[in-house]
Subunit: 714 residues, 2 copies
């Protein structure tokens, strides 16, 4: 934390909260909230508290100018709704009248409300109303909120979230993080608000809720942001009724010790291995053997002596050597006993394929196996999963079909169906994969364990995850921040709409957080978010194909002017920057294209050009240092057929690479069906290329840039 | 127009505008603007005009309460920026001080500004600030704007547009058309604003700019919208410097007379036909012959007697019979002379493949051929196009390869590259096409002519258009409104981002309008907008496959819970409604699925189920009247392999159809590569199905719904 917390008066806050707690209340009154704010240096307007009309009149006179008057009642949280707020009151008679009206309104709103009195406050105005708050997210814990305040926050929901605690830089980033950020910078000649003062309030609030985690909600709304400071006009503080449950956490070394043995095992046991075709225990055995796994495979089956040519054991205790991972293919009811035996054998990891646990409502059985695992020191993957693939070890510990195209992409899915889509897409596009892992019910091992492993795995260079919830958002963020500095992480968060979230809830029993919280915090942790299954798969496939860009200057070279326009649209949508071409470079491009071609950016080489024009302009685009990425728009003509374009592009890219020049190159191919083969060829040669779409190649480039920026390469 | 325009005082407005015009000004002063508003019954606050501090003090006293004071100067349009506005002024001294300060600020802002005086106005407050305005769009002409007012309109740009004139219903729809619409309905217990009063102001303004087209811009900003009325606090009126150019328009009968002969010709002439392979004039001849066109084909070539077995003519005048369309395959410079001859021969349509006109900067040549065409009564398609396909006539009048998969989809593109992508995608997906038409420079025939033709074409049941601009937005809207009641129209508007629009401008020389204007007005005309090339192509392919839904109740039936969550996300994003399943229907579904499957919606039948479970639940979904559309989520398992799922689904859908039950059914297939074949099979059997994506099938369903709603089926 950047802030010097020594100046905070923690005792005052502790006293206030203790009193509220002692009185069995969950929310603070306005004067209590004000004391808390003052103790942490959060500026509030001049004010006082009146229990009679005379006192209110006197207070208003002391404050001077116009005042705001507000009901003070532990029973009324929404004061405006209750008619308990009067603004711009001035003059003795008006103050007196307002006092009585507020009391009358409050009584009408809730006749048994306990009324403490009326707060009389300096009328703040002339600034921009913003909201600064903190909330306790079920996934991420303490989260800081910033946005436009007043009524607009509820209607426009133009707010941004960050994980608490926030430092000064993060606080400042929140001011830029809302859609209406421009309003804070001053529009129509208005002075900009005091950004440092706002960031200061954000940091103080962040420190406050970090120091006092029992504060579950904290709203400063509105805060008046002025050119010369900021004051919180209203404060609302709610305490949590129950203690938060601390999730179980393992150290990095503990995680890696288990994960290394699970992913690179010397010996695998299959609990419930079977010789009978069609059984899951048979499919797992077959896939391990057919997949080419070179370690020991121990089938465990009380009724067999041998399965698929391997000696079978009655139980895992009888296995002669060490076992690194036990893959379970027995019905749910047999899992607890077998898991105890696995624990006794000191197997570090159990992969639980069976369903019939929390996902079918059988929470007791899931809790039972989790307890056994904790007792015996076994980490669990699943239950309710298809298993996992790890191609560096030729390991297909799954009942699905084997997969053998090796590469650097590690994929995980919470759902089995999505896992199957990952497998099919990978096979269809020949995507090089290091791992495909099912997480299912996530009773124990989850995304942060996998990130910790993949982060240090030399065989993995990108991770793509489908998830519906996070059991421990903070652990995920910590792991993600670490890995995303080196390797991209793509996340498809399902259940991101209200209806989607409802379905997630019925599916996994997990409470999905508000999507905007996920969105902002995933970004904060360096994750590239995909908003659809198709995008997740294409990003996973395409990001590792592209080199990391060295700058923001993107140039479009296109044979089809029409593609150029659509590619430009896609550039803007993906938050990329079309380079302003300097005059000398413009002249250099012009030398290659017809006089009526459009130079500038897009560079429209026009449709009837021969291969040499594509080649010369692409080479120039690669060789000029000021250009950092290329987007190609190909137009199928007789003069330059699709495969000719593909081969020349691949060759020019390879020649540049031989000279040490590596830039992301993506391509959109418009033409007859031959462009499909040409796109495949280009993809295999390091150019992310698609037929019949201008948006997909640019979306992949945009995803690469999002990662490169968050990882500090740009 | 709903409004009784008799009450309007047109003479007052005409006098004010005449005076402004006579003085060589383009903008009205505030008092002039106020007179114009009053003449059309647009409510404005109490006010007066002061040319001295004393007069201002007297006026303020007469108005009473707080006043707003504003500079009046023909040279200062942005009064706030100039420091020319003081709000909440009350009391003689304050009014006097404000008067002098405003004059001083104005002089400092622009020292040569002519200052008329200061407007003293009743201070409006307590309402919501909105903007109501009119602007003259280069594409659509008079357009009405509504949005949140004040500073927010500039930052949030939360505005909505409609083509003027607007009726009461359209005016009311504008209030719901902004993101912050909720604020007008009253939030946090606030009273709703007077929607009728706001709509009334919108209509009056619409009438005003319709009656006086020389008004190019009209801002009422802010309008204070209160629970009991609305008043325009500030008015800004700008007149256009030049007369608008009225576009050339043809009647429906004239358009159809030409288009019918062009699309269903008895005889086609090819100007510049060639026997030499590789020449465009040779490709066109070959494609006409190889495509199977049964009418007469007349090659025109001064140097040949016969081309590809057809008698050639020196010029079109020598052709013995009538010619319905002349396809040009000669260099640009030869077009004028040949076009004159085509005109003399009374050929109604010329298809101009050649480039070298406006797109290369040769505007003169394009103007020349347009003039010749007008003179001789020939309508032009192009120039700078690939030609056109019309499959009902086996007509491939293009230099690209023939296409013969007949069907109801008509596609058009402004760009040749996009046309080639259309062709390739069509061939790859075996999309049944009626027409593919290149529009290129749109020197004459454009989208509205084609819409008029396709609207009445029995061989076309959906139109998909790629466009970068519209030459005549009003004609397009008129044609679109007519056709979209019967047939869906999908539009991909390129150049929709600022950068994209810049590229469009360099490509076609066309000024693309602001995208939000396009967005709102395309919606107003019943068009389904696609936001990417991929979406346009998938909508074109999928919409005609699906029957028109009879209601909004969408049900998801899924084998993969994970797909169910993502499909639910997609439902929300595509503005579809997941049906609330009534208890009896819930019980009926439950009877088919395992006890731990999730009923509700999505209906999660769980992953391990046999074909009979898919079959029973899909049949129930089709046969229950309360359900209007089905989204299927398939999960590849050994128990129900992909083709088994595809065949059973196709069979159940066909059985329902035989009973007269037709509902849209779309499917997402998660699994290994066999799901690709299964998806193709389903698509061919009327189920819009995709592998590895949950978003695409729902997007197509959403597009179908958007059309069905706008056409009044829902």
């Amino acid at each position: 934390m950047a802030r010097d917390t020594v100046a905070y008066d923690r005792d005052v806050v502790a006293d206030v909260l203790a009193k509220v707690h002692a009185e069995g209340r969950e929310s603070l009154t306005a004067p209590e909230g004000r004391r808390v704010c003052e103790a942490y240096g959060i500026p509030t307007p001049g004010e006082g508290f009146a229990t009679s009309a005379d006192a209110a009149v006197q207070l208003a006179a002391e404050i001077g100018g116009e005042v705001v008057m507000k009901i003070v009642s532990p029973d009324i949280l929404h004061k405006t709704e209750a008619g308990g707020v009067k603004v711009g009151v001035s003059g003795d008679d008006a103050v007196r009248a307002a006092y009585y009206e507020i009391l009358a309104n409050a009584a009408a709103y809730k006749d048994d409300a306990e009324i403490d009195g009326v707060q009389v406050q300096e009328m703040l105005s002339g600034g921009q109303e913003v909201i600064i708050g903190a909330t306790t997210d079920p996934t991420f814990g303490k989260v800081i909120v910033f946005g436009l305040g007043g009524v607009l926050v509820e209607v426009l929901k133009d707010v941004t979230f960050r994980l608490a605690p926030v430092d000064h830089e993060t606080a400042m980033s929140m001011l830029d993080g809302i859609k209406a950020a421009e309003i804070l910078r001053g529009v129509r000649g208005a002075e900009p608000v005091d950004a440092d003062a706002l960031a200061d309030v954000i940091e103080r609030l962040s420190d406050l809720v970090t120091d006092f985690p029992q504060i579950s909600e904290f709203d400063l709304n509105p805060v008046f942001a002025r050119p010369d400071g900021a004051s919180a006009a209203d404060v609302r503080i709610v305490l949590s009724a129950k203690e938060p449950v601390e999730p179980v956490r393992y150290s990095r070394d503990e995680i890696l010790a288990t994960m290394n043995r699970m992913m690179r095992p010397k010996a695998v046991a299959v609990i419930g291995a079977s010789a009978e075709s069609g059984k899951i225990g048979n499919s797992v055995m077959k896939n391990l053997i057919d997949g080419g796994y070179a370690g020991e495979i121990y089938p465990i089956n009380p009724k067999a002596d041998e399965i698929l040519g391997r000696t079978a054991y009655k139980n895992i205790g009888e296995v002669p050597g060490d076992v690194d991972v036990a893959v379970f293919a027995v019905p749910a009811k047999f899992v607890p006993q077998a898991l105890r035996e696995v624990g006794e054998k000191n197997v570090p990891a159990a992969v639980l394929i069976p369903s019939g646990f929390a996902e079918t409502g059988n929470h007791e059985l899931q809790e039972e196996i989790v307890a056994i695992a904790r007792d015996t020191g076994v980490r669990l993957l699943g239950p309710n999963i298809y298993g996992y693939y790890y191609t560096p070890q030729n390991l297909c510990a799954t009942f699905c079909t084997p997969y053998d195209v090796k590469g650097g992409v590690a994929l995980t899915s919470q759902s089995g169906g999505i896992g199957m889509a990952i497998l099919g897409f990978s096979r269809s596009t020949k995507m090089g994969v290091s791992a495909i892992v099912g997480l299912g019910n996530k009773s124990d091992l989850d995304e942060d364990d996998l990130l910790t492993y993949f982060g240090q795995d030399p065989d993995t260079n990108i991770v793509a995850m489908h998830l519906e919830d996070l059991k421990d958002g903070r652990a995920f963020v910590e792991a993600a921040r670490e890995i995303t500095r080196k390797k991209p992480v793509v996340v498809l968060k399902a259940g991101r709409t209200a209806l989607g979230a409802r379905a997630a809830s019925s599916h996994t029993g997990a409470l999905a957080g508000d999507d905007k919280v996920y969105d902002d915090i995933l970004k904060q942790s360096g994750v590239v978010r995909a908003y659809s299954l198709g995008d997740m798969l294409e990003y996973a496939r395409g990001i590792p194909v592209l080199p990391t860009p060295k700058g923001e200057n993107v140039v479009i070279i296109t044979g089809a002017g029409g593609s150029g326009v659509l590619l430009s649209d896609a550039v803007v949508e993906n938050e990329l920057s079309l380079m302003e071409i300097p005059p000398d470079l413009d002249a250099a491009f012009k030398a290659f294209i017809p006089p009526f071609g459009a130079s500038g950016n897009p560079i429209d080489i026009t449709g009837g050009e021969p291969p040499s024009t594509y080649e010369a302009t692409i080479r120039l685009g690669l060789e000029d240092d000021r250009i950092h990425s290329l987007i190609l728009g190909y137009w199928h003509t007789i003069v330059t057929p699709p495969m000719v374009f593909a081969e020349l592009t691949a060759r020019v890219v390879a020649e540049a690479k031989a000279k040490g020049i590596e830039k992301p190159v993506v391509a959109s191919l418009a033409g007859d069906v031959e462009v499909e083969e040409a796109s495949d060829y280009l993809y295999q040669h390091g150019v992310v290329a698609y037929p019949y779409t201008t948006e997909k190649p640019v979306a992949v480039l945009g995803a690469k840039y999002r990662w490169a920026r968050s990882a500090g390469f740009l």
